[in-house]
């Protein structure tokens, strides 16, 4: 489920890269926080608001030889710690 991993540029040497990881509750998991935010928005007059889901944005800096390596390492981090596959989905972007 990753974004922006196409068109890998090859960098001359190890560089610091920034990754933005998005962690969202799975569709089938109840998101009481999202529901509460939706209700509040509607009560404030934003009646056009439908479903709201609240997740997390994690920004991290890492050293990598190239974008591909940065993406592979970020994905490993998501699987191991940043997201819990039972209840959450993740995606990420790698920025230079």
């Amino acid at each position: 489920m990753r974004k922006s991993t196409a068109a890998f540029a090859v960098w001359p040497e190890e560089e610091s890269v920034r990754a933005r990881v998005f962690v969202m509750p799975k569709k089938e998991v109840l998101d009481p926080q999202g529901k509460a935010v939706a209700r509040s928005l509607q009560a404030l007059g934003f009646t056009e608001v439908g479903e709201v889901r609240v997740g997390k944005l994690i920004e991290l800096e890492l050293q990598a030889d190239d974008r591909r390596q940065a993406a592979e390492r970020t994905e490993a981090m998501c699987r191991k710690l940043l997201a819990n596959g039972v209840i959450e989905d993740f995606s990420f972007e790698i920025e230079e």
Partner: protein, 243 residues
């Protein structure tokens, strides 16, 4: 029988658990620090309640990678008894020792109340002194105790009789009103397939003497002790429905 209680930074029910084991049950117990790399020869490991590592990222997510957890996972793999209470239950789910996960309560509120739970199965070292269908009064206090798992997992839990406790009303009925946090199928506690790893959201260590309002929680501690002294016998009688 030698007990061990793991202390993570942010654990806050470790003292109550130690006290329940040492002062009420009368058994030797050691504190296991999260950085310890061995279990000091204990026969049962308890992961207590609290907010390990500030509950950062997800409840139990960081604690799962502390040095002692490698040993706990190894111990559980050899059939050792592991028992997680509240935050300890969350850690066991994060570690993959128990299926499913615990998420924010349905009503988004932290709940602190006495709860009724029904014992669904007593064929485990943790519930063997309980009767099936017996209703226990045990307090709960948590913000993220809503048990979730996918449909396949839930079916397996039922088929293998791994659901040990369900939230019920005083009459033993598992109604939606009796469910304090939105847990699927009113699940309050489960055991793994090999029946040596137990996790529950209620706090038995806060219900071990009459003056606490209930001493029903002591049954789990006594069960573990009885199982160790006399493995292999379980009271298979059940309480009539409705109790």
């Amino acid at each position: 029988m030698r007990w061990g209680v793991v202390v993570f930074p942010g654990s806050n029910d470790d003292q109550d658990t130690l006290w329940a084991i040492e002062q009420v049950l009368g058994e030797p117990v050691v504190r296991l620090w999260h950085k310890d790399a061995d279990l000091h020869g204990v026969d049962v490991v308890v992961l207590p309640g609290g907010f390990s590592y500030g509950d950062y990222l997800r409840c139990g997510a960081m604690a799962r990678f502390s040095p002692i957890m490698d040993k706990v996972i190894e111990f559980a793999g050899r059939g050792g008894l592991v028992w997680g209470i509240c935050n300890g239950f969350q850690v066991l789910c994060e570690a993959g020792l128990l299926p499913g996960a615990l998420v924010r309560n349905r009503d988004r509120r932290f709940v602190c109340a006495m709860s009724y739970v029904r014992v669904e199965d007593n064929d485990t070292p943790f519930t063997r002194l309980c009767r099936r269908g017996e209703v226990l009064r045990i307090p709960i206090k948590h913000g993220e105790g809503c048990y979730v798992a996918d449909a396949t997992t839930l079916e397996l839990l039922e088929r293998n009789r791994q659901v040990l406790l369900r939230y019920v009303d005083a009459n033993g009925r598992a109604t939606s009103e009796a469910n304090p946090n939105g847990s699927l199928d009113n699940i309050a506690g489960i055991v793994n397939e090999s029946r040596n790893v137990f996790g529950l959201m209620p706090h038995p260590e806060h219900a071990v003497e009459k003056w606490m309002g209930s001493d029903d929680g002591l049954k789990f501690f006594q069960s573990v002790l009885a199982a160790q002294r006399n493995p292999g016998t379980t009271d298979r009688t059940a309480v009539a429905p409705g109790h």
